[in-house]
């Protein structure tokens, strides 16, 4: 099945009460597959067809505040169009899951894979996790739902548009009952519709309290990290598949390491196997949990690595790209030795990233072609 289908399948098993949807490529396969499941009588979810992404998230907020399980999905301009509502979700602590098939931003118009959309909203208080393939996308949707409802924070499981959302792969699907037991029912004490115990949701907080609200939100984000870890180990018990803050691939004796996220990490693994067969000591640190960022853990995983290249599938105009900045911060606080760290940008607007690009990065590292300039894998 494709990544898009795998996410819809995970959602079918989760069985949300409400799903408000507005189509946008390359996310559409998720909601159209789900709509077919609904038409076939496989789910009873209330599907709300709205007129825009802003309304999609607004309807999801209303449903979630009323106490039911509510989800949506989006991409690119759709995420930006609903951006006004994204900090509302996190500020209210609503456990909404939005499945993302990431895509480049206009202009110029481009419908292909890139992380520019999810990077643009990375400071909105949402948890962000990145999938490498369709299996990851399926697993992370289930983990995301459990995490959101456990801590009361919204979560975006993210797959690369087209690369993962539209590629047919083998995916191991868990039994419905196992998933349903794993995610359980949403437990909430507060509901907009509980007239016996009326509450205010979305209050006014001025100079005397707003600051503390935000500090509490940050505290919650930090708690999310340990909850994520616990949920991943519980998920491993039901699936046999390991998830965590990141995956260390061929890192044991590695001298040069690439840090990256998402689908192209798969291409990097294949390139690393090829280079290892030639005796090159190369490895990969693939980040799964991007927000909250596991600074301390990334810092210790990279502490002994001299040469590091950080590959971003997003551009941050006038600044170093996002993942590079986060890796630099990780190393700044826990550095036990000097590192040489290079920044690369790849795959913008769906540009193919080949194993030869990955090999070129490792060659640069080996030959000491490392400086403070951003390089582009065109």
């Amino acid at each position: 099945m494709t990544g898009g289908y795998a996410v819809a399948e995970a959602l079918r098993q989760i069985h949300p009460d409400v799903m408000a949807v507005y189509p946008i490529t390359p996310q559409t396969p998720i909601i159209e597959t789900y709509a077919k499941m609904k038409a076939d009588g496989l789910v009873e979810t209330e599907m709300v067809q709205v007129e825009s992404e802003h309304s999609a998230m607004s309807a999801t907020i209303g449903a979630s505040a009323a106490g039911v399980r509510a989800v949506t999905a989006s991409s690119s301009q759709g995420i930006l169009y609903m951006a006004e509502t994204l900090p509302v979700v996190s500020g209210l602590g609503l456990p909404i899951v939005m499945c993302v098939s990431s895509r480049a931003l206009s202009a110029p118009l481009n419908i292909h894979g890139e992380h520019g959309d999810v990077m643009a909203v990375r400071d909105m208080g949402w948890v962000e996790m990145f999938a490498e393939n369709a299996q990851d996308a399926y697993d992370q949707t289930i983990i995301a739902l459990r995490l959101a409802e456990k801590v009361g924070a919204p979560v975006m499981p993210i797959m690369d548009g087209f690369h993962t959302s539209h590629t047919t792969e083998r995916v191991e699907v868990l039994e419905d009952e196992i998933v349903r037991t794993f995610v359980g029912k949403r437990q909430t004490e507060e509901s907009l519709l509980n007239f016996k115990d009326p509450i205010t949701i979305g209050t006014l907080a001025l100079q005397n309290t707003y600051f503390e609200f935000k500090m509490n939100q940050e505290k919650l984000m930090q708690k999310t990290k340990s909850a994520f870890k616990t949920i991943c180990s519980e998920f491993a018990k039901i699936s046999g598949r390991k998830h965590g803050f990141f995956e260390e691939y061929a890192m044991d004796d590695a001298e040069s390491v690439i840090v990256m996220m998402g689908a192209t990490a798969g291409t990097a693994k294949e390139a690393i196997d090829k280079l290892r067969a030639k005796g090159k000591k190369v490895g990969l640190l693939k980040i799964n949990l991007y927000r909250p960022f596991p600074y301390k853990e990334v810092g210790s995983a990279l502490a002994h690595i001299r040469k590091i290249a950080v590959l971003d599938r997003a551009i941050s105009f006038g600044a170093y790209p996002p993942l590079y900045q986060d890796v630099m911060s990780s190393l700044h606080f826990s550095a036990s030795q000097k590192h040489d760290i290079a920044s690369y940008i790849y795959g913008l607007g769906g540009r193919d990233t080949m194993q030869s690009h990955i090999e070129k990065v490792f060659k640069d590292l080996e030959e000491g072609e490392i400086d403070n300039k951003i390089k582009y894998l065109q």
Binding site: N133, F162, R170, T267, K269, D273, K274, T353, M354, Q355
Partner: protein
């Protein structure tokens, strides 16, 4: 020389609307049914009916990680011989590898238009076969049959089973069985 010899790689060259996506996904699902790992994905260009397009398919007994397009195929399937003029279909296709092409021309005539190609040419009139069996010019099932007989990446039985599962509801039992006969005819075509 390919590094990962366990992975079988195919490129479908087609025009938008000729069913290359359905063909490659049919083989991919049949391979999963047999316990293999797969990746099947299109080159997403400007999707227009009739415009040249490509589909990539990988099948392996091990997990396939790479996301890059297929660059060094084991088999190439060309769904329309007019593509020979606009696409470099035999790129990286070596001596022992195969080109399957839907054409009314003979293998010798195809060979003449590909002077540098040293691999095997399987030329068949898939359009004619499809028309005579199903009554419509959908060549993809015929070509899947041929791909299976040339490559043996999946069995004809698995592909037929997947086809029945997906299409019986969509096109009805009679048309489904006709398409499976078309696939079998492609498989048996010399």
């Amino acid at each position: 020389m390919k590094f990962n010899k366990n992975t079988f790689e195919v490129i479908f060259f087609a025009r938008g609307g000729q069913g290359a996506k359905t063909a490659s996904e049919l083989v991919a699902h049949a391979a999963v049914e047999e316990g293999s790992f797969v990746k099947a994905f299109p080159f997403y260009g400007p999707e227009r009916s009739g415009a040249p397009t490509r589909m990539f398919l990988r099948v392996s007994d091990q997990e396939i990680r790479t996301q890059e397009p297929v660059e060094d195929p084991d088999v190439v399937v060309v769904m329309d011989d007019t593509l020979l003029d606009v696409q470099d279909v035999t790129k990286n296709l070596d001596k022992n590898e195969s080109l399957i092409i839907n054409t009314k021309k003979t293998p010798e005539e195809i060979k003449k238009s590909l002077p540098k190609f040293e691999g095997k040419i399987h030329a068949l009139d898939a359009t004619g076969i499809a028309m005579s069996i199903t009554g419509n010019p959908n060549t993809n099932t015929v070509l899947v049959g041929k791909l299976i007989s040339v490559s043996e990446i999946v069995s004809l039985e698995s592909a037929s089973k997947i086809f029945r599962g997906v299409f019986t509801e969509k096109i009805g039992q009679a048309m489904t069985e006709k398409n499976i006969r078309a696939m079998t005819a492609g498989y048996d075509e010399l």
